[in-house]
């Protein structure tokens, strides 16, 4: 019987090892094997059972080895089997699904991104309009307009929502596509193409004239305070043509504006933060505060506070400030500033702790007063590293400001979210490029400045 002890492991994993004197090994094998079985039962698919079965077989082999040959079997196989199960769980809970990585959808997004919407050909607008009363009233004014040699008219002179109107225009550029659209008295644009969801576009003839049949948009009176009141609506005729050269597109302007806001946010936050961080850093410098138990307690409290504050991501702070002060750059500035106070406070304090006390005693020895000692012995030692760290922080804050924009903190990040929401991938691409350019440029710039300061 005793020669066959290893066989017990076939009934209960680890039993053979346990009875063979290797109690810990036996216990560990049983425990880990049971855990594995539970995991596979809870999460696994049928094929996963291979793993506990393999380990079970290995365990018999191990027990046999121990008893007959006196040495342990290699751990390679059970480790591999166990790790594959763990990897399988990871795969499952991170919802990796290779089928969703769809090439066609990826291309739909990537292709427009290859043409970032930043500039457009410079265009000139040729516009004409005519006013028409909706709904009708007695003796409506004639729907006729004459302007700069162009004439436009509509018949009838007034109409109700959904009624047909014939509009015509003369004196525009010949043979040019013309966008025809509706504007309500409060300035809302309405489209006149199919389903009122597309722009109605028609070309002018050789003489620069066109006429079209339109329907008064069903939504023309939606926002009107009193739908029965007859008010003049307008039909616009817009023509565009290239005049050579390029200009910023609408998105291009928005991107630049957003970038400006983001950089300014970072700048405001950094300056604000350093104003607070400078006095705080003196309280957090051990060499200045270590002399007395009370000052040391202050030092310790300030350091701890800075460490805790620094560990809160500015993104989290931004979420909080968005709730407090509302969406927009101000929330971002506050979040960045608070985080930067902690970061800069620590960096400044480290600078203060590393200053050379020699010049301080030398200046004191000349009969200088306290302020003169600070001015001539302390400030010259700290100014360069302070400036260098502040620029470095500004650099970091520009990146953070971009991310903070995503959660409503304003600037280019917020623009990015909006563009993604309306699926304007060309705009998104312009944002990406701009962010990359800013980050790289600032990185190089701040490195240069810091190099010169050190």
């Amino acid at each position: 019987m005793s020669e066959r002890k290893w066989l017990l492991s076939a009934f209960l994993p680890g039993a053979g090892q346990f009875l063979g004197g290797r109690r810990y090994r036996g216990g560990a094998i049983l425990l880990l094997w049971l855990i594995l079985v539970v995991i596979v039962a809870a999460y696994g698919q049928p094929i996963w059972w291979i793993s506990p079965i393999l380990i079970w077989l290995w365990n018999i082999w191990d027990a046999f080895h121990l008893q007959r040959l006196g040495r342990e079997a290699s751990l390679f196989l059970p480790l591999l089997a166990g790790l594959s199960v763990l990897y399988g769980i990871g795969w499952q809970i991170t919802q990796i699904d290779l089928r969703s990585a769809d090439m066609r959808r990826a291309l739909q997004i990537v292709r427009p991104m290859l043409r970032p919407d930043f500039v457009q050909p410079r265009r000139e607008l040729n516009q004409m309009w005519v006013e028409i009363l909706v709904p009708c009233k007695e003796n409506p004014p004639r729907a006729f307009n004459k302007l700069d040699g162009k004439t436009a008219m509509a018949t009838p002179d007034c109409a109700r929502v959904g009624e047909v109107v014939i509009v015509s225009v003369q004196g525009l550029w010949p043979n040019t596509d013309t966008q025809i659209w509706w504007q309500t008295p409060i300035g809302d644009p309405k489209m006149l193409g199919p389903n009122e969801s597309q722009m109605l576009i028609l070309p002018t003839d050789d003489n620069g004239a066109l006429s079209a049949t339109i329907r008064v948009p069903t939504t023309a009176l939606v926002a009107a305070p009193d739908p029965s009141l007859a008010l003049p609506h307008r039909v616009y005729f817009d023509q565009y043509r290239n005049v050579g050269g390029w200009e910023l597109s609408f998105n291009g302007r928005e991107v630049l504006k957003g970038a400006g806001v983001t950089i300014a946010m970072a700048l405001m936050a950094t300056v604000l933060a350093s104003l607070f961080a400078i006095p705080i850093s003196f309280l957090a410098a051990r060499n200045l505060m270590g002399g007395h138990p009370v000052t040391f307690a202050i030092y310790f409290a300030v350091r701890t506070f800075l460490n805790v504050l620094r560990s809160i991501e500015s993104l989290i702070l931004a979420l909080i400030f968005v709730v407090i002060v509302g969406l927009g750059p101000f929330a971002g500035v506050l979040a960045l500033a608070l985080h930067s106070i902690a970061a800069l406070g620590k960096l400044y304090a480290d600078v203060l702790e590393s200053i050379d006390p020699g010049p301080i005693e030398a200046i004191r020895a000349t009969g200088a007063n306290w302020a003169q000692v600070v001015r001539y012995a302390v400030i010259p030692q700290i100014i360069s590293p302070f400036v260098a760290f502040t620029i470095y922080r500004w650099d970091i804050n520009v990146r953070s400001a971009t991310i903070i924009g995503l959660v409503g903190g304003g600037g280019i990040g917020y623009l990015l979210v909006e563009l993604i929401r309306i699926n304007d991938m060309r705009g998104v691409s312009a944002v990406f490029i701009t962010i990359a350019v800013i980050v790289i440029a600032l990185d190089v710039l701040s490195a240069r400045i810091r190099e010169r300061l050190v």
């Binding site: 030398a362 200046i363 009969g367 001539y376 012995a377």
Partner: protein, 253 residues
């Protein structure tokens, strides 16, 4: 005339750096303080201008009690006492001329000095001081661009700006090689000949013999010798320095 009476310094951690030290320094003397590293030389020099507060004892400077001076009085006293350090203690990132001008801080209008505004007269004085120590051409370089010997000359120029009546020099040449050591000490000797009292701590016996008019020796904070430099022969030196004497002499050759 400087009079030190029963001076004792005990650091907050309990170290007794000076124990009941008394001596007098008549005007115009070149007093050298010797003693092993840790014997209290730096502490003694710093107690004289109260960079370190003495624990007990009195220090009189022309019958004014330095140890009892108010902060304003103390600044008045300090500005007449130039100090030179082993590590030069220049503001390394500042220009040489700024370091030298700083020696004048006890005299000029404090508000203007805080704004960094210096009268043309003071600038001329600073350039003259640099001229005197032979490095006027370095005036507008950063202090850390200078060699050790040049930095110590800037230190002397800074002390000169104070128009000092007394100069405290704490191992002014310990960081310099022997040739430079002489060139630096010669400036102090020159000043001494002009009537400035000098108190200087030194390590090397040959330098003591060459420059001192009188010597005091400290050992573990206690004054163990006071007398003429000629009285210190090898035997005495060995008593003061103990086992290290041989090494020190070797280094001084």
């Amino acid at each position: 005339m400087l009079r030190v009476e029963h001076l004792t310094k005990i650091y907050p951690n309990g170290t007794v750096a000076l124990k009941d030290v008394s001596f007098e320094v008549p005007d115009g003397e070149f007093l050298v303080v010797i003693g092993l590293s840790g014997s209290g030389k730096s502490t003694l020099l710093r107690c004289i201008n109260r960079l370190i507060e003495p624990t007990e004892g009195k220090i009189y400077w022309n019958d004014v009690d330095i140890t009892a001076a108010s902060p304003a009085q103390l600044r008045q006293i300090r500005r007449q006492i130039g100090m030179i350090f082993q590590q030069f203690n220049l503001v390394r990132r500042s220009k040489v001329i700024t370091n030298v001008l700083a020696g004048r801080l006890g005299y000029v209008n404090p508000w203007l000095s805080l704004l960094g505004i210096w009268p043309a007269e003071e600038r001329r004085r600073a350039l003259a001081a640099l001229e005197r120590v032979g490095i006027a051409d370095k005036a507008y370089e950063r202090a850390d661009a200078l060699s050790g010997g040049q930095q110590q000359r800037v230190g002397i120029a800074r002390a000169l700006m104070q128009e000092p009546r007394l100069i405290l020099a704490d191992e002014p040449v310990a960081s310099l090689d022997p040739v430079l050591a002489h060139s630096i000490l010669q400036y102090l000797e020159e000043l001494n000949k002009e009537g400035v009292t000098v108190i200087c701590s030194l390590h090397f016996l040959d330098l003591v013999h060459r420059y001192a008019t009188r010597v005091i020796a400290l050992k573990q904070g206690v004054k163990v010798f006071e007398g003429k430099p000629q009285e210190i022969d090898r035997q005495r030196f060995k008593e003061i320095y103990g086992e290290e004497a041989q090494e020190v002499r070797a280094a001084s050759l």
